[in-house]
Symmetry: C2
Subunit: 282 residues, 2 copies
């Protein structure tokens, strides 16, 4: 999917909402497990959530952990979910929240897994190992690397917000935060058409700083809702002329309801968030 | 597996070799694919390699990328491989080279995937997101987090070797490399009994520096062979009184041979590396 196609969808739906399908089997309503069997419950739960929320949503994010913890059958249900979205809602952007980060021929294998075997549009990547961990993903036209920059968790301050010194051979500038250096360095690897950045909604003051370094790039923003971020703050500090942000909510939507009403409760929650977003979409 | 059990195995086998089962289907000999079918070839290839190399080997490392790229069936063959090793060679340490790094309830799902669903002893983790990405794995007794510190790839220099400044509230020390800060910080999360570090064999001069900061910890060292590191250099700069290093070789062993002789060629290569190591094991 291109930058323009994504932006067009945002304008059309007046929403920049991403729904995170963190479909933890232990939290899936009993009615789903009883009707379809526990081994099919992630896929069936996802289908119901997708049907109910697609009109408010420009993206779905699938965190691989919740599927891998169910073994090969979980992995298969993840693949089936992507196939379902791509079949019935081909305009929706699908992100593998995999946070992978490996190099060379190994990174190529991950790219093959997420972009070829499964038809994800994007995959989240950890930048720790540098360019080698990202570049193999950028070789796929129309696919995206979504690089961890400043995450929403407390221990983001262990390393992401450390100040780093200039590298040799480079004119010494004011010291950057590590997360700023990641953004600057990634400009050598790709551009706004194939790289996005993950920035937590819990740090709106940093969001403006990031927007200044990466004026054109899309930011994927988790942490709205339970973690304390708000649509207002994120939109105010993070938007650019092409929207430039996708806000993710996972549990706050997919586990909003209980038992038989789970899908309509999820839809209501998605609608509520999208309504807040619509005020910001020109 | 405990620190002591791992060390005892090293003394018994006079080897600190880890064989990396990077079982890329496109490189698996035709005879295996023909006999067992391509969809079983990773598992059958692994079994043959394990049978041939187990006596020279204290650990197997399974890089998840090569299995995920084959979809759910690949994922299943990975799980079957761990089960096979644990059934027939329970003394051997089994590492998921997954380089995961996620937080909170997501990290718990990965721990469940690798330690409960599959019976890995250890999993490699990226430290970018800080403590939150590691601590859930340390709650499992006898299991290990293997944290990326200084990797063997060229772009390790993008971020891992940046100098970082002191954090607020801490007495300003001489500036550390980011990878040093990761080691120091991780001392707050666990100890030599549940944390190891990944350090590339291609940087022996840094290995001594790391050993000085983490005198007691095991280091998992890839990069011997094709990438240019040597057993001699790594052992000289990296060993401690309890050996303290595990050297990994993947392609150099498992794809050492061609077609029908693949297992015996792999065994010969493993034997050769173990013989070099035996000179260093007291």
């Amino acid at each position: 999917m291109t930058y323009k196609e994504l932006y067009n969808q945002i304008k059309k739906k007046k929403s920049f909402l991403c729904v995170g399908l963190d479909s933890d089997v232990s939290k899936i309503p009993a009615c789903v497990k009883e009707k379809f069997g526990p081994e099919n419950s992630q896929y069936e739960f996802n289908k119901a959530i997708i049907k109910a929320t697609a009109k408010y949503t420009v993206a779905y994010k699938i965190n691989t952990a919740f599927y891998e913890s169910e073994g090969a059958r979980g992995f298969e249900q993840m693949a089936l979910t992507v196939r379902y979205i791509k079949k019935y809602y081909p305009e929706i952007f699908v992100i593998a929240d995999a946070k992978r980060g490996d190099i060379g021929n190994t990174a190529e294998q991950y790219a093959k897994a997420f972009f070829e075997k499964m038809n994800f549009d994007a995959v989240t990547l950890s930048p720790y190992m540098g360019a080698d961990a990202v570049i193999p993903f950028l070789k796929y036209k129309g696919k995206w690397a979504v690089i961890l920059v400043l995450t929403s968790n407390k221990s983001a301050e262990d390393f992401e917000t450390l100040k780093v010194c200039g590298v040799s051979g480079e004119k010494k500038s004011r010291s950057d935060y590590l997360f700023e250096r990641v953004i600057k360095e990634s400009a050598r690897w790709g551009d706004k058409n194939n790289i996005m950045f993950v920035v937590g909604a819990t740090r709106p003051e940093k969001l403006a700083r990031i927007r200044a370094i990466a004026p054109d790039s899309f930011l994927l923003v988790p942490g709205v809702g339970a973690q304390g971020g708000t649509v207002n703050d994120v939109a105010t500090h993070g938007m650019n002329g092409s929207c430039g942000i996708i806000i993710n909510s996972s549990r706050g939507i997919v586990f909003a309801g209980c038992d038989k009403k789970f899908a309509s409760d999820a839809a209501a929650k998605a609608k509520e968030l999208a309504a807040k977003m619509s005020l910001f979409v020109k």
